[in-house]
């Protein structure tokens, strides 16, 4: 059984159709890249999977582990093993990073019927993961993402992903705003999490990230649909030739 199965998905925002019949199947252990020009619906796909309000599915279905995603709230989707790394992680003044991480982890464990982690276990786990991602202890003492640079925010997303150990991680333009060193750190963090049980959907505009997170399958999204699917070489081809031909195809 596929881990994620999207069939003929149509999604509207404020009455405007953004996704127009999208199909995508992701099996366990696979890394899929979704590339496409601006406005093609990449972020919409990410948000609709995570369950953001105002992103209204009007047709089609999404099965996650065989269950309909649209019957689950955002928190239930997360507990079921879906993770979205945000393109623009939010700052939450007044909520300490450690409190946030701990509340999230324990809420998910509780929903899955697992025991909560003890404070020392939790702290050790976060410190180890933060160390690998080059996240300073001082950052963990601050409020969530408050005063973080763009790169620090993205690293913090990867830290959350590593801590929450999802079945499927959707990375929404995780490379945007990163310099090459930060990109390598983030990619390394993602690669360490790759396993035969865990899948990734890497959404990006540029091929650059895919040199570090090498995908199994590359899709081109244009005007709300997957218009081409290929191997990792497709990303290089897109880099060389641009998206123009797909945009024309979609318009036709």
């Amino acid at each position: 059984m596929a881990l994620l199965e999207i069939k003929n998905l149509h999604v509207e925002i404020d009455g405007k159709e953004i996704l127009k019949g999208l199909d995508l199947t992701v099996n366990a252990g696979e890394v899929h890249a979704i590339m496409g020009p601006n406005g093609s619906g990449k972020s919409t796909l990410a948000y609709v999977l995570a369950g953001k309000a105002d992103y209204t599915p009007t047709a089609g279905e999404v099965l996650f582990n065989g269950k309909s995603l649209f019957e689950m709230g955002p928190d239930e989707r997360a507990a079921a093993g879906l993770f979205l790394a945000f393109q623009y992680p939010l700052e939450i003044p007044g909520v300490a990073t450690m409190t946030f991480l701990r509340t999230a982890l324990n809420a998910q464990r509780k929903k899955r019927g697992e025991p909560e982690l003890s404070t020392p276990e939790f702290i050790k786990k976060v410190r180890d993961l933060a160390g690998k991602l080059g996240i300073e202890q001082e950052m963990l003492r601050r409020a969530v993402n408050v005063g973080f640079s763009g790169g620090e925010k993205k690293r913090n997303e990867v830290l959350q992903m590593a801590l929450l150990e999802p079945r499927l991680a959707v990375l929404d333009e995780t490379d945007s705003g990163l310099d090459i060193d930060a990109l390598k750190i983030v990619a390394e963090g993602v690669n360490q999490l790759r396993s035969p049980q865990r899948s990734f959907v890497v959404i990006t505009h540029y091929q650059r990230l895919l040199s570090y997170i090498v995908p199994d399958i590359v899709h081109v999204l244009s005007a709300g649909r997957i218009v081409k699917t290929g191997g990792k070489d497709l990303a290089l081809e897109l880099e060389a030739r641009g998206y123009a031909e797909y945009q024309e195809e979609a318009a036709a």
């Binding site: 995570a50 369950g51 953001k52 309000a53 709230g73 955002p74 928190d75 989707r77 997360a78 507990a79 979205l84 945000f86 992680p89 939010l90 939450i92 003044p93 007044g94 909520v95 409190t99 946030f100 509340t103 999230a104 982890l105 809420a107 998910q108 929903k111 409020a143 959350q160 929450l164």
Partner: protein
């Protein structure tokens, strides 16, 4: 003489006049005090209960909200005193000197005023009035704004309270905890306290007001506080009255030079609450922080009204009031900063924020600046809004359920106000109280 307009007295106004007429002969104090009571009552008799056309009471129409005036509370019986032992649970773990009042009367057997530290004196107001304590002659009523009807009623009918003096240079480590508890009997109590912290002294004053739900008792409580030069005073007030109570309270403070003054008001109980702060910065270079957090639900009405008057040079004051409103609750903040012409280099900032959790909740804010000096830094801000859906989605996308996500954001919203409390035990007790409120909301 009468210009022709006859104001019809409300039932509450008539009852208050009767209460005063009956009680006046037996209220504590000598003839001078009695005269002062008469003069204060005359202010009320002339003005009546404040209503919405009185600017200071625009959003808290006491005339409409106070349908009747309860009879003055009688001395608490054994059952009332026994029940009061359960009070003060919020600060149970805090090692404080408890001074307990039940239905407005001092209860020595529940209080701890033996073995006072050197330099500290604590006297019940009723006794101080009867004995003609000289501290009252020099200080009582000096800070009360003359035209304020709530304060006038308090002065007219004050029965008991605490008179506290902390001698110059004395640091009192153990917080002084004034605990006001109402019994099941729906009565009215008028309590008045006087706290004189002399120069270079230090103290923490905690005040709590609580009572049973289901009783529509009425509390009018006032504290006059003198903070001497270079003194350091922390004040925390918890208004945790029963769900049907009417609570009007006033803090009137005068702060000397080079002093530190922190005041925090936490409002979580009561059907109708009016909390007034009248602050006067008499001495130069003082640093003050005046904060408040209110959690209101159901049809609660909570009003924080603040007047900070800067008279002396170079004082810094930060005012932050946060209100969380659920259901059909109504929150009010009125804040006025007055900077007199000699108060150059005043640095005063006032911020009020309301978080509306329901479409039927209402928040009214009225910040005002009156500045007569030309070299000052003053500012105010006011916001009112709902929880940020994007932040909530971010939390939920990490697996945090709806109610827990909202609770985290509400705690974060209040954090700025509560985290400024220096006393760790008090701060944690209030954070726990917020958590309990949120838990009750979620269930």
């Amino acid at each position: 003489m009468n210009a022709g307009v006859t104001i019809i007295k409300t039932a509450a106004e008539t009852a208050l006049a009767q209460s005063f007429a009956q009680a006046a002969p037996r209220l504590p104090g000598d003839d001078k005090v009695a005269e002062r009571r008469q003069a204060a009552f005359a202010v009320f008799a002339k003005e009546g209960l404040p209503h919405r056309r009185v600017e200071e009471w625009k959003y808290t129409d006491l005339r409409a909200l106070m349908r009747d005036a309860k009879p003055l509370a009688s001395l608490p019986d054994a059952a009332a005193k026994a029940a009061a032992k359960e009070a003060g649970a919020l600060f149970r773990d805090i090692e404080a000197r408890r001074i307990v009042f039940v239905d407005g009367a001092f209860v020595p057997e529940l209080s701890d005023i033996a073995n006072l530290e050197n330099g500290l004196s604590v006297t019940p107001l009723a006794r101080a009035l009867s004995d003609g304590d000289p501290l009252l002659a020099s200080h009582l009523g000096k800070l009360a704004p003359a035209g304020d009807v709530a304060m006038a009623l308090n002065t007219a009918l004050m029965g008991d309270g605490a008179v506290i003096r902390i001698a110059a240079g004395t640091a009192i480590e153990r917080p002084l905890y004034l605990q006001f508890v109402a019994s099941k009997k729906p009565a009215a109590s008028f309590v008045r306290s006087l706290v004189v912290v002399e120069p270079d002294a230090r103290a923490m004053l905690i005040e709590s007001h609580e009572g049973p739900a289901g009783s529509d008792y009425q509390t009018n409580a006032a504290v006059e506080l003198f903070v001497g030069d270079r003194a350091h005073v922390d004040h925390v007030k918890v208004i945790g009255e029963g769900a049907d109570a009417l609570h009007v309270s006033t803090l009137a403070a005068a702060v000397g030079a080079h002093a530190r003054f922190n005041s925090f008001t936490f409002t979580v109980g009561g059907a109708v609450v009016r909390n007034q702060l009248f602050l006067r910065f008499d001495g130069e270079e003082t640093v003050a922080s005046i904060r408040g957090a209110s959690l209101l639900k159901g049809r609660q009405h909570g009003d924080n009204t603040l007047v900070a008057e800067h008279i002396a040079h170079g004082c810094q004051c930060r005012e932050v009031f946060k209100t969380v409103l659920d259901d059909e609750a109504h929150g009010v903040f009125q804040g006025r900063i007055v900077v007199r012409s000699k108060a150059q280099k005043t640095d005063a900032k006032m911020m009020t924020r309301a978080l509306l959790l329901s479409e039927k909740a209402e928040a009214d804010s009225k910040p005002e600046l009156e500045i007569f000096a030309d070299d000052v830094q003053c500012g105010h801000g006011a916001t009112a809004g709902a929880l940020d859906d994007d932040l909530k989605f971010y939390l939920m996308a990490r697996g945090i359920p709806d109610a827990e996500a909202e609770a985290l954001l509400i705690q974060a919203f209040l954090g700025e106000a509560i985290e400024g409390i220096e006393h760790a035990g008090v701060r944690e007790a209030l954070i726990d109280s917020v958590a309990a409120w949120l838990k009750a909301r979620a269930s």
